[in-house]
């Protein structure tokens, strides 16, 4: 109760009322209110397409809301007609891609807004360095101001991007998916930093798909669904399950795999002492038919490098690979595909799909030689039937076969990538963080597909960052760290907290 009184005394920094936005006939945002208090971390969650980015665009002046919306900053009614208005009012977005200049120094990146000033003074390099150092010292960021940004880790780049917001005296910083490419350790550091900002009375809007993290850092959480606000909740009022429910309107149950349910019969893959200098060393493990093998470990642990080796894109220095009982040298991805190994890459948007091409064309790209007619030309009827079958089987939601893949939701895009590989009827499929950046409901349908595939006797290697998902979906879990496999578990042997601890240690 006392907390409530305290909050009532704080005058909100930003009050947004009745914000709506229509694109053509589609309502992207429908009468949303948002109040941001000074010095609060405000979580914003919602599935893809729930209106989060539209809301941010309205706050930052990138799009104008429909008539009837009202914005107040520190009690004063204001108009945010363009990004410069937002900037002047102290609102600053740190985009997911960070929008830094990789070829410039840390100091110059922090200072770059000064180049916008009307009075064109000569650049004073000492002043740039001093100012950047001052801002970073204030925030406790310890990065060499003269180093080029491209040489920093993503986590450090993020701190530079946020320091830049402080350099322009931002009062309200919007962090869009700030943790999506950070390791757990880096996330902890970022959160310490966010608390530092909070102590300086700076407000934060924390947008993320990772509900655990939203719950960890936020004071209050606003949930959007289908363009409408479900509500703003105190941190204590909600938990992960409740948030998922509020976001989707559905009770989402992640049911764990039964312990020991999986019989180990036929070995499909065995790796012995596989080593690649600087990537991983002395990797040995086996994979059985129909098994889902979880491979969990922080970014940079060598998990992706190992996966690429199995797919022939990162030849090992030493060690043996046995596939279906025979020793194999997988020297290229053609060899891997020939053996029946499929790989769904980490960044589906960049590596897995041709975004401007149709759903149909994306689906058949791996099986072009199976849909040709006698003259060696593509048989369009075969092509259509193959693609239609895949769309049905994977329940891909698309308005038509000709629709470009970029129009699909994230979850459905991921399904297209999966389907594309299943069409090659692989024996082993490697999924590299398949649920990265995907919302809760879509995640669940991906897990569903994975389980169905394993029931059809397909073996899977499931690379992941999330303890929960490997525990709930894998038959066996390998923990990878610093290029080595350090532990092996069955999901029943270990709790989520224990697993997290082992990974972090």
């Amino acid at each position: 109760m006392s907390q409530k009184i305290e909050e009532d005394q704080k005058k909100p920094y930003l009050v947004l009322q009745n914000a709506s936005k229509r694109y053509g006939g589609v309502v992207a945002l429908d009468g949303v209110d948002l109040t941001i208090l000074p010095g609060e971390v405000h979580g914003l969650v919602g599935e893809n397409g729930s209106g989060k980015s539209t809301l941010v665009k309205i706050i930052t002046g990138v799009v104008r809301p429909e008539k009837g919306a009202k914005v107040e900053i520190s009690g004063q009614k204001v108009e945010i007609a363009n990004p410069f208005d937002a900037f002047r009012l102290g609102i600053y977005v740190v985009h997911q891609d960070l929008s830094l200049f990789p070829n410039l120094s840390v100091a110059e990146n922090i200072f770059s807004h000064r180049y916008l000033e009307k009075a064109q003074k000569l650049v004073n390099w000492k002043e740039i360095k001093a100012e950047a150092t001052r801002v970073m010292d204030k925030l406790g960021v310890d990065i060499d101001p003269e180093i080029e940004v491209s040489r920093l880790s993503v986590a450090d780049q993020q701190l530079v991007a946020i320091s830049r917001a402080i350099a322009v005296d931002a009062r309200f910083i919007i962090l869009d998916e700030p943790t999506s490419s950070l390791t757990r350790k880096e996330v902890i550091r970022l959160f310490a930093f966010i608390r530092e900002l909070k102590a300086r009375n700076i407000s934060i809007l924390f947008i993320s798909h990772r509900l655990d993290e939203v719950l960890e850092i936020s004071d209050r959480i606003t949930v959007l669904r289908d363009g409408k606000k479900v509500g703003t909740f105190q941190r204590e009022e909600v938990d992960k399950k409740r948030l998922s429910f509020l976001m989707t309107g559905k009770e989402i149950s992640s049911r764990p795999v039964e312990a020991g349910a999986y019989p180990r019969e036929e070995e499909i893959l065995r790796v012995e002492n596989l080593t690649k200098k600087g990537h991983y060393e002395k990797i040995s493990f086996s994979l059985y038919q129909g098994e889902i093998l979880g491979l969990i470990g922080p970014r940079g642990s060598g998990r992706t490098e190992l996966a690429l080796t199995l797919f022939g894109l990162n030849p090992p220095d030493e060690g043996k690979i046995y596939f279906e009982g025979k020793p194999q040298v997988i020297s290229s991805n053609q060899v891997a595909i020939g053996l029946g190994i499929g790989y769904v890459p980490e960044n589906r948007l960049v590596q897995g799909l041709v975004l401007d091409h149709s759903v149909e064309n994306n689906l058949v790209i791996t099986v072009l030689d199976q849909i040709i007619n006698g003259m060696g030309l593509i048989d369009f009827q075969k092509k259509r039937s193959v693609a239609e079958k895949a769309v049905q089987e994977f329940n891909i939601k698309t308005e038509s076969m000709e629709a470009p893949v970029k129009n699909l939701s994230g979850g459905n895009q991921q399904k297209v990538v999966l389907a594309k590989w299943i069409l090659t009827s692989p024996h082993l499929l490697i999924l590299d963080t398949p649920t990265h950046g995907v919302d809760v409901a879509a995640k669940e349908s991906i897990y569903q597909s994975i389980r169905e595939l394993s029931q059809k006797n397909l073996s899977l290697i499931f690379i992941s960052d999330e303890e929960t998902e490997v525990l709930n979906n894998c038959d066996r879990i390998l923990v990878m760290k610093n290029g080595q496999i350090i532990r092996e578990f069955s999901p029943a042997e270990v709790s989520e907290e224990e697993l997290r601890k082992i990974i972090l240690e």
């Binding site: 410069f84 070829n103 410039l104 110059e108 180049y115 003074k121 650049v123 491209s150 040489r151 880790s153």
Partner: protein, 334 residues
């Protein structure tokens, strides 16, 4: 700390290569390492050197310009027509004519690049052909010579002159001075003017530059106009050195300039490069050409070597990008 930084820079390696190459060329032909040869070499590469400074700025911004030879030809042709037709015996006037012409043609490139959003290589190949076509149509390919005396005398101006052991006079041409001043000017713009920093920023991350509120159009316009202005200036130097203007003598020489700038450390992906690097790049190419002449190699070898230099220099730069991405923990999959 500072030492480490020097070792990481292209300029350092270029200087090393230049010294080693000079050493070998001197062994082959002692004439190479004489002031006379160097003054002559620098003077005859001033045209290339000035153009390289313009191209450098375009490359840093993330663009590319291959139309500058046509721009230079038009600028010098109009200048030649004016000073011979009206017989203007004043170097300063002659000097000032080609620059605004270059800026105007550069502005056309800048506007087209910004508004069409097409790749600048496509835009400037098109304008190269269009500009050149116009010139050939209106000039009929006629040469211009018989310039006023002041224009002729200017090409012989030397800061100081010396006499070699055989009694032949040589000296430090005014054109070398112009080149060096322009190099310093370009360096200052890039390093100390906000527009220069915006050019680097835009070349490094166009989207971030847009989000930071930089006026992309103004930066692009500046970049292509700067290239145009230098093309105009270079065309004056070229006409003065040769005492003759041929409409078809410059077009086709774009590759030498690109080779020099890329060799000097500018990336075709934008965001990197320096005036010193562009200067050294031109110097290295000049030395290679000079060496080929001193070794009496066929002129066709020049072309082969220029092509090879671009492939090697651009290849190294792309390789560095890739290994840098690897260091950051990403793996590039084709």
């Amino acid at each position: 700390m500072i030492n480490k930084k020097i070792f990481q820079q292209t300029e350092f390696y270029l200087l090393g290569i230049i010294i080693v190459l000079s050493f070998f060329l001197t062994l082959v032909n002692p004439k190479f390492l004489t002031l006379e040869n160097w003054f002559d070499m620098l003077r005859s590469n001033t045209f290339l050197g000035i153009l390289a400074l313009g191209e450098l700025v375009v490359l840093i911004s993330g663009g590319i310009d291959v139309s500058f030879t046509a721009t230079a030809t038009i600028a010098q042709y109009i200048m030649g027509l004016i000073i011979t037709t009206y017989y203007i015996d004043n170097v300063l006037v002659a000097f000032l004519i080609p620059i605004p012409i270059g800026i105007a043609l550069g502005a056309i490139n800048g506007i087209l690049v910004y508004y069409t959003k097409a790749h600048p290589v496509i835009i400037t190949i098109s304008t190269l052909n269009a500009f050149f076509g116009f010139l050939m149509f209106f000039s009929g390919g006629k040469w211009i010579y018989n310039f006023p005396p002041s224009f002729r005398n200017f090409s012989r101006v030397q800061l100081f002159s010396l006499t070699n052991p055989q009694g032949v006079k040589y000296g430090f041409s005014i054109f070398i001075l112009i080149w060096i001043i322009l190099a310093i000017f370009t360096w200052v713009i890039l390093k100390y003017f906000p527009i220069g920093r915006k050019i680097y920023a835009m070349g490094g991350n166009m989207e971030a530059a847009r989000r930071a509120g930089f006026n992309i159009f103004r930066v692009q316009l500046f970049v292509y106009c700067f290239m145009g202005a230098l093309a105009g200036l270079a065309s004056f130097v070229h006409a003065s050195l040769n005492q003759m203007i041929q409409p078809n003598s410059l077009v086709g020489g774009e590759l030498d300039v690109l080779a020099a700038v890329i060799l000097g450390g500018a990336s075709v992906f934008g965001g990197s490069g320096s005036a010193l690097g562009a200067f050294l790049g031109v110097l290295l190419i000049a030395i290679i050409k000079n060496g080929l002449i001193l070794m009496k190699a066929s002129a066709y070898w020049h072309e082969v070597i220029m092509g090879a230099i671009i492939v090697v220099a651009a290849g190294i730069s792309a390789y560095q990008r890739k290994s840098q991405a690897k260091r950051e923990g990403e793996i590039l999959v084709q």
